[in-house]
């Protein structure tokens, strides 16, 4: 992407509102510790006040003590979230707005973390780069928790001669692993890279709504503790989908899940609004829609799905929480409710969520493929059509999760058709990647390896998904380990391995350090090998008929489960090695040049570390983003060799 630059007006010329006190105002006194303290205080006060009022109310009104107890815990968790957000300074902005105390430029700079050093990572900082790194660390922590729970699950299933955990606890770690990993996967690419990289990639100084950016991250931070605490309150024993009526009868831990999802949906919605608005309205001059990097298009596609469908998921949990906390009857059939209503509301997001995860990772791989093949993207328009097709058709596939529930059997065949149809736009995306790689001379590096891995995993996950979308096949496969292997190939195989490649690719820009590819590759390939062993064996177990979410099973499934467990431990070792590469590279890696990959996209044209407002002067785009080698796409020598020398010099 060729660029020119344009000068902008000087900030000092702009009339400023009256500066009340030191820049930043109330937020100067806030950080993560004040947030936690305020959250805990409000939660404890709510618990004690509520225990005097809510529990007796539940007993006398509903003749069912759990109603009051659940209302008490719901109020406590919500109080934690509100208290935390107040303590970290999230409400300062709206209050200032309503009082007419608009931010001065000095205020905005303070909030963006100027001159705050490392303290800015612990505050309500609005700089998109800080928020991106906060998301990255949060994703790593969540993957750590979810991965640990996965190891516990595989340990239980691998030790076939005795029970390691009680059945109830086993169910709890299954459910918690599921939802922790879903949250981690949703934020894995769109969180760190959508926030850090996307604004620079389109030539913007920041996100459209910097304060909402900080709000989306800290809401996520506040949403996680109720979920983790739920493990100590009986856990989530009904899988990540928390189906009714099971969750209505589950221990109080289910309340933590419901509050987490309700808050996380706000966080995701706010982030989606911000990402879409930024890309639509803040692109550099000259960046017409056919010059927008494909990664930005993928982020928009993912954000649209999240924006539209997450409220359905959110309201399914609002109503489920109402059933438990107030005794209403949305999902209780005895009193006029319907469990199928829950399943419909849940799967309206539950299925598009897979695409929310996979689309950004796929788009990132496209971005990487063009750089490391030094070729233009194979059919930009087909890629965009693929994203649009997935977004459109994702709205009409949810019923395939309900084939075997007995809900509207006549709907099975139309939804079978729609589910198979979505493989066409998905196929577009695979073909664009294949076409970009085709007959190219690859620069063999870790990000490029992630492209190959994503392609393989996505094809395996996609084809097995087509089988499962067939109603007759699903009658046999439903609820089996085959389904578990299938969605792990999509979410982990495509989503997580893609995210790993994307983070390695943009690591130099985000941390100003080169990623240690030698150690990182060992971890990456170890995890890949373990992944194939784990989930290929699981396909076999599923085909043999092993049901999922079952603690004890027939000896016929032992070998598959032993292999899966060995594979899982190999994944764990690989991920720890990869994590070690991330940490050591971040702490003491070789300093990165501004553009180590000799990429043409805008984020590599600015200096490293990226300055507070991203560009000294705003760029103007004068050509397409992927003009590598044009007119001869195979003339890769010059730029690639130059880039190799740069990286090799370290």
């Amino acid at each position: 992407m060729s660029t020119a630059t344009v000068s902008i007006h000087e900030q000092a010329d702009v009339p400023q509102p009256v500066q009340h006190g030191a820049p930043g105002g109330f937020v100067r006194h806030c950080n993560i510790l004040t947030g936690i303290a305020a959250g805990l205080v409000l939660a404890v006060v709510t618990y004690f006040v509520g225990s005097l009022w809510l529990v007796p109310w539940g007993t006398t009104t509903a003749n069912y003590v759990q109603v009051g107890n659940d209302a008490l815990w719901a109020a406590t968790f919500i109080a934690w979230v509100i208290g935390f957000m107040a303590g970290i300074g999230a409400f300062a902005g709206p209050i200032r707005w309503s009082l007419g105390r608009d931010l001065t430029h000095a205020d905005a700079e303070y909030l963006a973390g100027k001159d705050l050093g490392r303290a800015r990572y612990w505050k309500y900082t609005t700089d998109h780069k800080v928020v991106g790194l906060q998301y990255l660390v949060m994703a790593l922590v969540l993957f750590g928790v979810g991965g640990l729970l996965a190891m516990m699950i595989r340990t239980e299933l691998g030790v076939t001669w005795k029970e390691v955990f009680s059945p109830d606890f086993y169910n709890a770690i299954i459910g918690t692993h599921g939802i922790v990993m879903i949250i981690a996967m949703i934020i894995a690419v769109a969180g760190p890279l959508g926030n850090f990289i996307l604004p620079i990639m389109i030539g913007a100084r920041d996100m459209a709504f910097p304060r909402l950016n900080a709000l989306s991250f800290w809401l996520l931070f506040a949403a996680v503790p109720p979920l983790l605490i739920s493990l100590a309150m009986g856990g989530i024993r009904d899988g990540w989908s928390v189906y009714q009526p099971l969750s209505a009868q589950a221990p109080t831990g289910a309340i933590g899940y419901q509050v987490t999802i309700i808050v996380f949906a706000f966080s995701t919605g706010i982030a989606a609004v911000n990402l879409i608005t930024t890309t639509v309205t803040m692109r550099a001059r000259g960046m017409t829609w056919n010059r927008v990097p494909v990664f930005a298009i993928g982020i928009i596609a993912s954000s649209i799905m999240g924006l539209i469908w997450f409220p359905m998921f959110q309201y399914s949990q609002v109503l489920a929480l109402s059933d438990r906390a107030f005794g209403s009857s949305f999902f209780n059939p005895v009193n006029g409710g319907s469990v199928w209503l829950y399943e419909n509301l849940f799967w309206l997001l539950g299925h598009p969520e897979v695409y929310v995860v996979v689309i950004p990772a796929t788009a990132a791989m496209m971005e990487i493929a063009v750089v490391f093949m030094r070729k233009p993207l194979f059919s930009y328009k087909i890629a965009v059509a693929g994203f649009a097709g997935v977004v459109g058709i994702s709205a009409i596939v949810w019923v395939h999760h309900m084939y075997m529930t007995g809900w509207a059997p006549a709907a099975n065949y139309p939804f079978m058709l729609s589910t198979e149809l979505i493989s066409i736009p998905f196929g577009f995306l695979v073909l664009v990647l294949l076409g970009t790689i085709w007959r190219g001379k690859a620069w063999t590096s870790l990000p490029m390896m992630a492209v190959y891995v994503l392609l393989w995993n996505k094809v395996v996950g996609g084809i097995t998904g087509v089988y499962l979308s067939d109603t007759p096949v699903d009658q046999y496969m439903h609820g089996s380990m085959f389904v578990v292997a299938h969605f792990h190939f999509m979410l982990m195989g495509a989503g997580l391995f893609g995210a790993m490649g994307a983070i390695v690719y943009w690591f130099p820009k985000m941390t100003a350090r080169m990623f240690d590819e030698r150690i990182g590759s060992i971890g990456f390939w170890t995890a890949f090998f373990g992944f194939q062993l784990t989930f290929m064996s699981m396909f076999v177990a599923g085909l043999q008929g092993q049901p999922r979410r079952v603690l004890q099973f027939d000896n016929a499934f032992n070998i598959s489960n032993w292999l899966s467990t060995i594979g899982a431990y190999i994944i764990g070792i690989g991920m720890l090695i990869f994590l070690a590469a991330v940490i050591t590279s971040w702490r003491s890696g070789v300093k990165a040049p501004a553009n180590p990959w000799a990429s043409t996209s805008l984020e590599w044209q600015t200096q490293t570390p990226v300055p507070l407002e991203n560009f000294p002067v705003l760029p103007v785009v004068t050509s397409d983003p992927y003009d590598y080698g044009v007119p001869d796409p195979y003339d890769t020598a010059s730029s690639k060799d130059q880039a190799k020398q740069t990286v090799g010099a370290r």
């Binding site: 344009v6 000068s7 902008i8 007006h9 000087e10 900030q11 702009v14 009339p15 400023q16 509102p17 009104t61 509903a62 707005w97 309503s98 009082l99 007419g100 608009d102 931010l103 001065t104 430029h105 205020d107 905005a108 100084r205 459209a208 709504f209 909402l212 919605g269 989606a272 609004v273 911000n274 879409i276 608005t277 639509v280 309205t281 803040m282 924006l307 539209i308 469908w309 997450f310 409220p311 359905m312 959110q314 309201y315 399914s316 109503l319 109402s322 107030f326 005794g327 209403s328 009857s329 949305f330 059939p333 005895v334 009193n335 006029g336 409710g337 319907s338 209503l341 419909n344 509301l345």
Partner: protein, 231 residues
């Protein structure tokens, strides 16, 4: 880029406020789209339970449905509020003061909000009294949430207009609030429409639920007994 002095600039980013306003407008539209999906989820829940009448438990005890007039008064309050905010915005944008009109909007939305709370606390049924009661309670809670949000926003707009921060050159925040208030009025209207026109379920033959009979252990030993349908 040349910037002339008569274009008001955003103090934080230095961009013309019309550019920031365009960005904010898209943001509000997207927030509204997300809110629409949430409201649709509530309406789906209402219509779903109304159509199925599971276990014959849709209607509240003694068919004591809520008084329809209150729903429509609340909806009218929402519509009048939105109209006043739009009127106030246009007045300010044309160079008028508009504070009195916006202050009137505050009074109307406050009265509507109070009426909504009164309605919630005086329903002739409890939230636990079946599908209609549960769904209606949540439609009204949704309306109260929307009204409280509009109330908070319009109070801010009045304060900012009085302080001169919303003026003819920079009236955009009033417009953003008017946009949201319009959607809030539509959402409340839809809730009223559902709650007043879809009361008695069309499904009068709903199958009973929960009448399964436990087969005694001795009887279940025989294949014939275990295959017999539950009564």
């Amino acid at each position: 880029m040349t910037v002339t002095r008569d274009i008001p600039l955003s103090p934080t980013t230095g961009e013309p406020v019309s550019v920031v306003a365009r960005r904010n407008r898209l943001g509000v539209w997207l927030c509204i789209i997300s809110d629409v999906t949430g409201v649709v989820a509530l309406l789906i829940a209402y219509a779903y339970l109304w159509a199925l009448n599971v276990n014959g438990a849709w209607a509240p005890p003694k068919d004591a449905f809520a008084d329809p007039v209150t729903f429509w008064v609340v909806a009218l309050g929402g519509i009048v509020t939105a109209a006043l905010i739009w009127f106030g915005y246009r007045t300010v944008a044309r160079g008028g003061r508009g504070v009195a009109i916006l202050a009137l909007a505050v009074l109307v939305v406050l009265a509507t909000f109070i009426l909504q709370i009164v309605q919630l606390s005086t329903f002739p049924f409890d939230i636990q009294d079946g599908g209609y009661a549960s769904a209606t309670f949540w439609l009204c809670i949704g309306a109260a949430f929307h009204l409280s949000l509009v109330l908070t926003l319009v109070i801010g707009v009045v304060g900012r207009t009085r302080a001169g921060l919303i003026n003819a050159a920079n009236p955009y925040h009033a417009r953003l609030v008017a946009m949201y208030a319009t959607w809030a009025a539509i959402a409340i209207f839809l809730g009223a429409l559902f709650a007043t026109t879809m009361t008695v379920s069309p499904n009068t033959q709903s199958p009973p639920f929960g009448e399964f009979q436990q087969v005694p252990a001795s009887a279940s030993a025989s294949p014939a007994a275990s295959a017999s349908p539950a009564s």
